[in-house]
Point group: C2
């Protein structure tokens, strides 16, 4: 059964003990939406807790709170979880028992008894704001901080093409309710780990241009990743660099793995990254795609450059 925000709000208000679930490998939206709801339930004097298969990342510690599940829930709500495969090991026992799923992914598999879905929302937090409004809970900074985080992180701070007028109006409301957006954005977007800085330095030193400056490529050696302990999201940020260079239409990152290379291809319109990668046995989206190739760095570079030249 598909639900409106108003119906979801009524369902939540009818409960007294709410278990809120976030997806594994949690991001700002799944946690922001979950904790926004938890604070709203606090205001109403209801019991609640947020559970996740993975620990809450340190970077979200300004709004996360570990509460034990010391109650028997009368409502289990999943937020920003499109598919039960995203529950992770620890939460898997709840996969068949979700009463209400609140989500914005068009790919949502309708695994819950009731689903409140809005694929036009840039973030689940945008839907959660509407639900909290419908619940009649006044917005406070404690509610606004996590919801703002969800919206900002899922839109790359209002840059991505999923951002709508409604997204900005939600941000306006959250800022006016006291969301500390300046600090939040500094933590989310302008903070780099030392590991990231070291990988970035090495990547910039390896930078080579091709196609007369319309292409740029970097290499990330396996040893460097091991030494620095840089995580996937950090490496992903570094992979974005080549395409960011003025005049570059094709940005390539060659990441050395155990006996093969993972190649990330980022492009600017009209170059199709997925076409380039498909011809090398990979795939992805029009502006960002990937493939995996065996061989020496020189061999792999040669193969990829030939594929790029066929496309450009």
């Amino acid at each position: 059964m598909e639900q409106s925000a108003a119906a979801a709000a009524r369902r939540i208000k009818g409960a007294e003990r709410v278990l809120i679930l976030s997806h594994h490998n949690p991001d700002g939206d799944t946690l922001g939406s979950a904790f926004g709801l938890m604070r709203a339930l606090d205001f109403l004097g209801k019991q609640s807790a947020v559970l996740c298969s993975d620990p809450f990342p340190e970077k979200f510690s300004y709004f996360t709170e570990a509460r034990p599940l010391d109650f028997e829930p009368d409502l289990i709500a999943a937020v920003d979880i499109a598919d039960t495969q995203l529950f992770g090991e620890k939460l898997m026992p709840y996969a068949g028992r979700v009463d209400l799923c609140i989500d914005h992914h068009v790919s949502n598999t309708r695994y819950a008894a009731e689903t409140c879905l809005d694929p036009a929302a840039a973030a689940t937090a945008e839907i959660m704001l509407e639900i909290i409004r419908e619940m009649g809970v006044p917005l406070s900074a404690a509610i606004a901080d996590p919801l703002y985080t969800g919206i900002a992180t899922d839109t790359g701070c209002f840059k991505f093409s999923n951002t709508t007028g409604n997204t900005h109006r939600a941000a306006a409301e959250l800022i006016e309710a006291g969301a500390d957006y300046n600090t939040i954005n500094r933590l989310m977007f302008d903070t780099k780990s030392r590991a990231r800085i070291r990988v970035e330095q090495s990547a910039l030193s390896s930078m080579e241009f091709f196609l007369g400056g319309r292409g740029a490529m970097i290499v990330i050696p396996r040893k460097l990743v091991e030494e620095t302990g840089a995580d996937e999201s950090e490496l992903d940020g570094v992979s974005a660099i080549p395409r960011q260079i003025e005049g570059v239409q094709v940005g390539l990152t060659f990441r050395e793995r155990d006996g093969f290379y993972k190649i990330s291809v980022r492009t600017v319109e009209p170059v199709d990254a997925s076409e380039i990668c498909r011809s090398l046995g990979g795939g992805g989206h029009a502006r960002a795609a990937g493939c995996t190739l065996k061989g020496s760095l020189d061999e792999v570079k040669k193969a990829v450059l030939e594929a790029v030249e066929r496309q450009v």
Copy 2:
């Protein structure tokens, strides 16, 4: 005389030939506001042109348009120009002849016959949107693109503390009018020149930590700036890097000049950058300040680190 947006709109609608002035060393807000107004005047069938002492930077070419001043203006409007010192050489003859100044700088010197000023606006483009609305001109993508650019650039894409609920509501309106925000934000925030990349690479290689990781510093050699031709805004972007590192409260950039060093100090609350710089003969804001010191790099570093230690 101070004017409301409605009064400014009436004044503009009463004119037939409008000369619009932008400040020298033009940024996204002065040009975005000027071209937003020019497109609105186009809609009304009035003559207009935008003048600036410096050429329109290439990065704004998606909305700028060089039009000759082949008419005798009956209204001279200055946008986003707080002081006649910002007119630059070419526009200086107009400094005493401005009929209407539209601005958001609290420091505005009221040099114009009439001033429409809103210091609460994050960008002059935010005020211009209101004026264009009051002029009864429907928003089009041609008007929305420059205005969105002004707002996005003056707020660091909604990150800076000048961003308000009103700023986001303005962005909502501009996006719904067709502003190509995805492309604009890529050009404004995710595009780096090759010069910037080279300076960044060198700066990252020079990175040193101090105060047990609570401080980080980089050096930008004079020769590198000359070789790459990196401009001030590019160097400013690089100076932001040290403070962006996790755990860093004080970020220092030592920029070598002709026989002296320019030091940029960026801090995170509660460290006061202006206090650090004042003790070295400089000044600035609480989170970003600067000073100039003579001596060898080692001597200058030592003096600055001592000043930092006194503050932290």
